[in-house]
Symmetry: C2
Subunit: 353 residues, 2 copies
């Protein structure tokens, strides 16, 4: 579909993905249809159950088409098993709808490996992008930051990292509404000499480029939570480690906090008095508020909702898909990559040739 | 020095390292001399200032020898600059004392890169160990966990990771007092197929080995804070990212918490009632309680106290050095590596040959 049609965006939903189940996915689509009145939906899954549930989703019922299938990719399926069902499963058909121009984006809360494999196989990478990256938003002391890659690529070269930087910056412009996002490479030190050759080469390429971003050099793991950078670029191995360590530490501290409040009746009273504010703290860190990881770099938009997201979380993931469609994310990535390639430092080009 | 002399352990202290300054480093040694009455100290630094300060450290004065030097490695010095002052600087002389058998361990709060370079150059790696690793303790919901490598090696092969696992397990046995520590490799998934070839090969080697540890396979970043594993093994790049991300997230959550308590007079009162318990939470997470990163795998013990550690933190780092000496950490590593080499799976040995 061309950008001319974006005034009436269509999202293909895999209603069978994730732990939440069909009713929750549809309740989330109902919320999204209220937030974005122009959105239309294709609901991929078992027709009888979808029809029955639409009785609880009056707005969605008016803007949804049902595409029937009984075939579901399970959480335990290997990507290779899922690939064989690209045209029969609810997840595969949602992606296929994007490929065939029947939808602008696909959203699934299902098996991440299967979704990545099917999306890459069906949609292929965009011109100028060698590998897709998984990008998501992370809470910080200030505004959310974009982090990519979060696990699609365990090893990356300098060109991959530059492409991730371009894609992440476009994501920040589109979803966070920033003009010139601050972009940095995740590294084990801030000095130019630190890190692997891939990271140092990527930094040199980004320093020499004229892209709609402020390239800030390197950022260390302890700065991720501070929000002084809008886009954090890394290979998928380190990105996954960083994201999950942040999740785990968040749980550690809030777990210790819960224990601390239970030590005496005094601290329990303290908790009661503070709980409104503590609820706001929890909401700030709630993964559901930041739900919707995006596979960037494909010929089509694919959003992965977290498997354990609740209704509100899935609705936020649909919102991310909406923003990416309306913000023409792929056209902007293509523009920036073309611009980067046209103006890249000749010495580096020669070395890369 | 041989293990026969460990009944009177000697620690060489670089009194000039770190932000704390000479008085704090010496106050820390005073605390350590109280905790470990058999310890003796070599204090490397400017004699006049040390002598003056010893007036405030009556116990230390009785068990310390001063080794004068005015030369100090600065935080801004490059490792190459520091190396040239291996025999003149307080840091270099403390390491040299270990090499010359005049001390069992060196402790410095100075420039990490310089300390690593000088320690490796002077002490060299132990037989069976290809590269030293930087190990430290991390707080969890349960007991502390050992994490290594934390930045000494940005890229590691399977053999390096196996050696780190052996060294980390000995560290946990020596410092945490565990019989058979649970050891896992940090990875981006728990399935056997996940991760880089290096990690998968290391897992195969550890599964086939009979070492004094429970090898638990892979652990993801979100499990680091749970304390279900005693030793987490990783390359220095990912280890550094994980450690610093954990630090940053801890600060993020406690920062948001402080904000939360300031929202109204009710929450301020809540804070007042809970502050005893919250202080305990802070103490649990305080880096000073876990201070003392160790360079494992050298012919000698070198402990790095965090540059921003306070007196109590530096005293803890000296305590770690004490435990490693008394626990004969290097002899145990040598035993385990010899045992591993003698019994390693023949197929893997053939592949490695």
């Amino acid at each position: 579909m061309t950008s001319a049609t974006v005034s009436a965006p269509v999202i293909a939903i895999d209603v069978m993905g994730g732990d939440a189940g069909l009713a929750d996915v549809m309740a989330a689509a109902e919320i999204a249809s209220e937030r974005y009145p122009k959105l239309r939906f294709r609901l991929h899954g078992p027709e009888a159950r979808i029809t029955a549930e639409l009785a609880n989703c009056p707005r969605l019922a008016k803007c949804a088409t049902i595409v029937h299938t009984d075939d579901v990719v399970l959480g335990t399926d290997k990507p290779s098993q899922a690939l064989r069902r690209s045209r029969t499963s609810s997840m595969g058909m949602a992606i296929q709808a994007v490929k065939d121009g029947e939808a602008h984006a696909a959203v699934s809360a299902g098996n991440t490996g299967a979704l990545m494999a099917m999306a890459l196989f069906a949609l292929r990478t965009m011109p100028g992008i060698d590998r897709p990256a998984l990008a998501a938003l992370l809470p910080t002391l200030k505004n959310d930051s974009v982090v990519l890659d979060l696990g699609a690529n365990t090893e990356c070269d300098a060109e991959n990292l530059v492409q991730f930087a371009v894609m992440g910056a476009v994501f920040a412009r589109t979803v966070l509404g920033l003009d010139r996002p601050r972009v940095a490479l995740l590294n084990i030190g801030e000095e130019e000499l630190k890190g692997t050759d891939e990271i140092k080469d990527a930094a040199a390429l980004l320093r020499g480029a004229s892209l709609p971003m402020h390239f800030e050099g390197f950022v260390e793991g302890d700065k991720i939570g501070q929000g002084n950078v809008d886009v954090i670029v890394t290979d998928g191995f380190s990105g996954n480690i960083a994201l999950k360590t942040a999740e785990g530490t968040g749980k550690l501290v809030t777990g210790l906090l819960a224990k601390a409040f239970e030590t005496s009746w005094l601290t329990r009273l303290g908790y009661l008095l503070s709980r409104g504010a503590l609820r706001a703290l929890r909401a700030h860190l709630d993964p559901n508020a930041h739900n919707g990881a995006v596979f960037l770099g494909l010929n089509g938009i694919v959003v992965k909702s977290h498997g354990s997201a609740n209704v509100r979380g899935i609705a936020n993931a649909i919102g991310v898909a909406h923003d990416l469609i309306v913000g023409r994310v792929n056209e902007r990535i293509a523009e920036d990559m073309a611009n980067f390639s046209a103006h890249r430092a000749p010495a580096v080009e020669a070395a890369g040739a």
